[in-house]
Symmetry: C2
Subunit: 202 residues, 2 copies
Amino acid sequence: MSKNYHHGSLRQALIEAALPVLKKKGIVGLSLRELAAELGVSHGAPYRHFKNKTALLEAIAVTGFNALQDICRKAMQDFPDDPRQQLYQAGMDYIFYVARNPEIADLMFRPGLSREESNTELQQAVNSAVGSLAAIIENGKQRKLYGDHQTMDLVLTSLSTVHGLAMFIAGGMLIDPASPESSIEALGKRVYNILLHGMAGE
Amino acid sequence: MSKNYHHGSLRQALIEAALPVLKKKGIVGLSLRELAAELGVSHGAPYRHFKNKTALLEAIAVTGFNALQDICRKAMQDFPDDPRQQLYQAGMDYIFYVARNPEIADLMFRPGLSREESNTELQQAVNSAVGSLAAIIENGKQRKLYGDHQTMDLVLTSLSTVHGLAMFIAGGMLIDPASPESSIEALGKRVYNILLHGMAGE
DNA sequence: ACCTGAACACCGTTCAAGT
DNA sequence: ACCTGAACACCGTTCAAGT
């Protein structure tokens, strides 16, 4: 192999190199040229893998949805007979995932990123992740856990709530960013409880 | 007034000029120079009002939180004796606000924008808006609507849910972007119902 | 198939100078 | 106080050419 060629898969390397930059400097501060230089590759090279800067950001969003899917699947495997625990575990794991990777979650539910083309890969990753969450909800419905609400409404509500809470925590908004994991878990538990039994007292 | 000086307040003009650009081209596609040119002002002029591009984006986020505060206040005024209706109305108004202004909402809950300084103006706008929502919740608590949950937990849960749902709608994810207002309202009503009475059947 | 390197048109940001 | 316009160091993106 020529020493002027990047050794492994440049596409994946670009995604990984982008994460710490996004974390420190945000979307505005990220540049493809900087990533290329860091990886010892010419500034034109990234364009063999991403048609533009936005496409790289979308690829990172895809990894977030893939992580959400993995989290849902793992929760189902870990508690095959307890759909309520599946939902709780998946939600909590997702919150900790976002807390660890705020720069990824920050790209996930963004109408403003690709206002043009729909990006089928991203759309597909979203659908897969949502499908896994829907499976958890369906498991619960078979056990008569969730009344007669539509699955889609339950998915939307729970995903919105968990993702929103995760972003509050990740952004340090309203919540002390220095909170220990135990207090984040306690907060997650209280919110999960409200979600499950309602804001209104019984 | 000199014809080389912008007539009114350039700061506000920049914010307003940025909105359609953000809507069409997203954060990555926005440039201060383009805005300056559009407003007939030199490319250095924006820096008298914003210390950089991120500061402009944060100022736009502030307008979103101000809108949320206005929405909450209006709901309290419109239904002074019905805290439950206050919450429903505020939530629904916010959803329609986000549907009309996705490019603003897109900037509101973003850990990745200003990873550096905390931006006190933004932090203050967040606190004010959250305070108004908390007031609505407190009104409900005085009427014994919300059990014994902590106000902050109820605020976090409801705001997360409503904002998340709004972003799904605004981004056309999971929801047909061509949905008429009536079906958005119907969806909002179902989610509000789940939020109020819980995912679990009674 | 994947990368280089020149080329182009554009940016963000700073700053002395103007009014 | 607010804006101009030059200046600097950088970008995103394209494309012929190389391996």
